[in-house]
């Protein structure tokens, strides 16, 4: 019992630490988790970590939180999952709460406003860069259907105001149909 409590505490502190010091989201956090839970603590083996990563990426929602929940569950059951989810969520929750509390006051400051306005150009560039990398990843496979789908969804959502949720459901349906179709043809 004593040992279990200790490992829950370790689990909480470890996910808290990883979440608090990781900038850049899911793709950065998973290698860090591997280093800690596979390397330093030795709680999970390499193969299992690969499996957990695949599951975390297959589920919706933030990958970092998903991975924390899975690792918590494998090492400490339901309590472990709860504890590591809390550890993963707490740092952004606290940091953003503090920032939001001062947001109105900060935002009306002349210098903050100058910087934020310029940074809105920076953030737009970051997102465009991500979009181009992702789109290129799809286009370079030289398949017609995904390219057409990308263009059609862009027009529907961007210019004809089709709801993103409806679009996601339709796209998931299309993904499933093409999976069934591929399976039938024995690919």
């Amino acid at each position: 019992m004593e040992k279990k409590r200790k490992s829950l505490l370790t689990l909480f502190l470890t996910t808290l630490e990883i979440s608090a010091f990781t900038f850049g989201g899911g793709y950065v956090i998973i290698p860090l988790m591997r280093r800690t839970f596979v390397g330093k603590l030795g709680w999970i083996d390499e193969g299992e970590m690969l499996d957990l990563t695949a599951i975390a990426q297959s589920a919706p929602g933030p990958i970092a939180v998903n991975a924390a929940i899975l690792i918590g569950y494998r090492t400490g059951g339901i309590a472990g999952a709860a504890v590591s989810a809390l550890g993963a969520v707490l740092p952004p929750l606290v940091i953003i709460s503090i920032i939001s509390a001062f947001y109105q006051a900060f935002r009306s400051n002349r210098y903050v406003s100058l910087a934020m306005t310029a940074m809105s150009a920076g953030v737009a560039a970051v997102v465009v860069d991500v979009v181009i990398a992702m789109a290129w990843d799809i286009l370079k496979r030289k398949k017609l259907l995904p390219a057409v789908m990308m263009a059609v969804v862009f027009v529907l959502v961007g210019f004809l105001d089709v709801s993103v949720i409806a679009m996601m459901i339709a796209a998931a349906g299309a993904g499933y149909l093409s999976y069934i179709h591929g399976k039938r043809r024995g690919i």
Binding site: A20, A54, G61, L93, S120, I138, F154, V157, G158, A171
Partner: protein
């Protein structure tokens, strides 16, 4: 009731943002700006900016920010909880399926089928962010902020050529904006 609508909105964001990180953008924009009017495009862009410079997933950052603005600390807790609730249930179910059937073929191929749609939707969010940066509004009209157009092109070129961390780009554009404004 405000807590219920926060919970419900962020549950949808958590449930439908598939493919990590930026996939949450169009959903947050849809729920928080278009459907509920909790955010302006300006504050949405601010959250994105803050998210690039603080740790934590974009969706969690947005949940906390929107929750606080709309209903204080309890609002932040409810929105964050809503955001991770669907995924925590699904991730557990998927883990079970994975170990039972030794694979997630169907799920993974559905996700790869979704990917073009996700990219297209993030692209629409990117357009809104560009419009805000260039025109100060979402409507592609009004006077053009020349400084921001130049900064955008510079930042984009730097990102494409050297692939630095987004934080560097944010810091760079912020400092450039300050210097520009003061001079």
């Amino acid at each position: 009731m405000i807590y219920l609508s926060l919970l419900w909105s962020f549950m949808q964001i958590g449930l439908f943002s598939i493919g990590g990180g930026y996939a949450a953008l169009p959903l947050i924009q849809h729920q928080a700006i278009d459907v509920n009017g909790w955010l302006t495009m300006q504050s949405f862009s601010d959250i994105m900016t803050i998210s690039q410079m603080t740790p934590g997933p974009i969706a969690i950052n947005a949940a906390t920010f929107v929750g606080i603005q709309v209903a204080g600390i309890p609002g932040a807790l409810v929105a964050t909880f809503g955001c991770i609730l669907p995924s925590s249930l699904i991730v557990t179910a998927l883990a079970w399926v994975y170990y039972r059937f030794k694979g997630l073929d169907a799920v993974q191929s559905v996700i790869s089928g979704l990917r073009p749609a996700v990219v297209a939707m993030i692209a629409t969010a990117a357009l809104s962010l560009i419009s805000l940066a260039f025109f100060g509004s979402e409507s592609y009209s009004g006077s053009v902020n020349t400084a921001n157009v130049i900064l955008f092109c510079l930042a984009f070129a730097v990102l494409r050529i050297w692939h630095p961390s987004p934080m560097i780009v944010m810091a760079g554009t912020g400092i450039a904006g300050l210097i520009w404004g003061i001079i």
